[in-house]
Amino acid sequence: MDIIVLLKQVPSTESIVQIAEDGRSVKTDDVNWVINPYDEFAVEEALRIREKQGGTVTLVSVGTAKAVEAIRTALAMGADKGILVNDPAIASCDGLGIARILSTLIQPLPYDLIIAGQRAVDDENFLVGAAVAEFLNIPFMSLVIKQEINEGKIQCHRTIEGGTALIESPLPALFTTQRGLNEPRYASLPGVMKAKKKPLEIKTLADLGLEAPTPLLRVVAMKLPEKRKAAKIIDAATPHAKAAELVRILHEEAKVI
């Protein structure tokens, strides 16, 4: 089973995000960069499938030179090789542009299965996985919390509102991960050592025969959400009196109940 994992490097969810001088991008200097958490589930699931069925796990990513660190981390977890597309032109790409680059990169590679995070926790676009599947013309299933592969078919338990749907698809297919799929392993020290010797190719758009895609969605401004003032603390002599005062405020002042 040859598995491809789409990987993105993002600021960790603990990072404090600040708006850059231009007002429409974020400062990246003090950010702690990690593998997108949903992509970590994808790497872990790919490794588990390989452990059962044999095969290879190839990481593909579009990013800056720094993204090599994320790929090395995933290689240290156990993936076999990585390919990074690093090109100055990608800075202005939107999600569709990134998906176009990734699918062009993947097209000539052998693969039975592609796994991606449901979304990256920076852009929050929910787009790239679906778009790569569409460009490669393979079935797509999102928000998967459990999968089984048997005789060239995959069954995916997909999260829906209030439950799950069980979808069956022939391979090759692409699915995206949902929290609950697995608990990603940590890279071991021997894993880190081995990762240094694993193949990691770096390509430009020209290598793929691509020109910079024109973005169709543009960020024109960024702002921080309005800060809520510190809570009005409701104080009273007894829990019951506090409760009564809260309900009165919600009803009469905030008018939300």
Binding site: L96, E134, S142, L217, I234, A243, A244
Partner: protein
């Protein structure tokens, strides 16, 4: 027509999702601004009768696409039919709810049609006839204003972020002839949790518990949620402890909720938790630790034992309802 708005309504298990009405209402306002028509689209199996409801939210035309293979949502069948309709109708914007279905379908459509996608949007406004869309990024730590550079633009709306309002529309029903090849994928089964549960992302009231719950007994929260007609959520710590299922998790790597009232019980208030609930209209925090970070970002706070406070609040809500 190029000033028309197309709204895809999601009909599941005999009801339209609430966010579908929100999308229609927003679509109505946009169509009025642009001088276009609002076209509603419903896909499914035997949905024509239900589709009539959409006239009450201002739809000028209602396209009904019925086929046995559209009974359950599948990316490929829904993308095929919806893409065809969009190409035929050529609207300027396509709206739908940012549900598990809407986020999946909108992304596939975006790629199929080469159409820009702005997903999980929380506000839309026209400036000189040009649409500016606000959507959270970085788990809601940033609000980005984005513009769409070509049509159709596909927009998904965060549930509860937009008001739905009755409006009169001609509501002319038209059957759309569906032609489908045999799909590659199939939906073998759907497993639903207890019936009658209110979906967390659509609830007007969310009562969430965190580490301060001390165990898997969330019954005090369930009673309050039930009294207020809401749903129960959980912090990541509570989910990691195994006290609640992953599907209840509110936060940056869980569900994003925007209820009228969010009541955080025994939740300290990590930055990732705020990402999942900060667009709530009113946030109430209940915590025994007066220094808990949650109090700096809530609207109202009560310091005390949640196991005494929450049942007392339930009782007061009951009194209010009976008065």
């Amino acid at each position: 027509m190029l000033q028309d708005i197309l709204a895809v309504a999601e009909y599941v298990d005999g009801v339209f999702r609430k966010v579908s009405f929100e999308a229609l209402s927003q679509g109505r306002r946009m169509a009025d601004t642009l001088g276009g028509k609002l076209v509603a689209v419903v896909l499914g199996d035997e949905v024509q009768d239900a589709a009539k409801q959409l006239a009450a939210y201002g739809a000028d035309r209602i396209l009904v696409a019925e086929h046995p293979d559209l009974k359950d949502y599948l990316t490929e069948t829904y993308t095929h039919v919806t893409a065809e309709i969009i190409q035929k109708e050529a609207p300027v914007f396509v709206l739908m709810g940012a549900t598990t279905q809407g986020k999946d379908l909108s992304a596939a459509l975006s790629a199929r049609l080469g159409a820009p996608l702005a997903t999980d949007c929380i506000s839309l406004r026209f400036e000189n006839q040009k649409l500016t869309i606000t959507r959270p990024m970085y788990g809601g730590k940033i609000l980005a204003d984005v513009v769409i550079e070509s049509s159709p633009g596909i927009i998904t709306l965060r549930p509860n972020a937009f008001a739905s309002a009755p409006a009169s529309g001609a509501g002319q029903i038209e059957s759309y002839p569906v032609v489908l090849d045999k799909p590659r994928t199939s939906c073998l089964a759907r497993q639903m949790e207890a019936a009658g549960r209110i979906e967390l992302t659509e609830a007007d009231v969310v009562v969430s518990g965190g580490r301060g719950m001390g165990g898997s007994d969330f019954s005090v929260l369930e009673m309050l949620a039930s009294e207020m007609g809401g749903a129960v959520g959980a912090s990541r710590s509570a989910v990691d402890e195994g006290w609640r299922p992953v599907s209840d998790q509110v936060g940056q790597t869980g569900k994003v909720v925007s209820p009228n009232v969010y009541i955080a019980c025994g939740i300290s208030g990590a930055i990732q938790h705020f990402a999942g609930m900060q667009t709530s209209k009113v946030i109430v925090a209940i915590n025994k630790d007066p220094e808990a970070p949650i109090f700096s970002k809530a609207d109202y706070g009560i310091v005390g034992n949640l196991f005494e406070l929450v049942p007392a609040i339930t009782e007061e809500v009951k009194k209010l309802k009976n008065s």
